[in-house]
Subunit: 109 residues, 2 copies
DNA sequence: GACTTATACGCACATAGGTGCGTATAGTCA
DNA sequence: TGACTATACGCACCTATGTGCGTATAAGTC
């Protein structure tokens, strides 16, 4: 079963992905913090969840091109995309969880 | 004239450079902190000094290869080397400053 | 139902480079 | 010598990812 954090990551990821193509940990933390009013999820927990889901095949990832980070004068980002398996797992879990308000359901539209 | 920080950077840089080939800001901060007992120089001040000296031609710099940072699982480093002009400026300044104990003089050996 | 075990979590901190802002210090000029 | 200006400085914080450690919570076993 999907944990609440994993559900939230897939939810936010599937919302951002069609617009931006991919998403990364730090921005995701900001998004989740805004969504829940305050910083519900610590950075350590989020990055561990991302690695876990990457290893499990729910997400796929790659390092951003160094030139982009260099041009913006910031550290490199690790870019994530929700895989087919991730989306399937999300849709299955969201249907049962939506009534409890655990997810926004935004990505189900 | 060279500022104390700039003198310290050149001193440490010229000590490390023959061994390591180059040096970077974060390790330099550790070295200077150990040398003076405690953290005399804040990170912001150090990085600003490095940029200043880079622009002035006392140092030259390049970003580390992304693969190295990735293999070690850490952010990329900016690698600095003391230029000929930097070494000349250091030797000139160190001769007059050494009596006051401002530099270790290690790099003059 | 109690007892053990696995793991997800938050907190603190590390690694690396960098900016914004107010102050202190040094240098310049009248 | 006093006022005025430039800049170097420390402090706090930002961007981004990640680990170590102790705890809380859930799952599994007897």
């Amino acid at each position: 079963m999907l944990l609440p954090i994993e559900l939230a990551i897939l939810d936010a990821g599937l919302t951002i992905q069609p617009r931006e193509g991919s998403f990364f940990g730090f921005a995701l933390a900001r998004t989740l913090a805004e969504r829940d009013g305050s910083a519900l999820v610590s950075h350590g927990t989020l990055y561990r969840a991302l690695n876990r889901m990457d290893a499990a095949g729910l997400l796929e990832s790659e390092w951003e091109a160094p030139e982009l980070a260099e041009a913006d004068g910031r550290p490199r980002r690790r870019l994530y995309r929700v895989t087919g398996a991730g989306e399937a797992a999300f849709r299955a879990a969201a249907r049962t969880e939506q009534q409890r308000g655990t997810v926004t359901g935004e990505a189900l539209a």
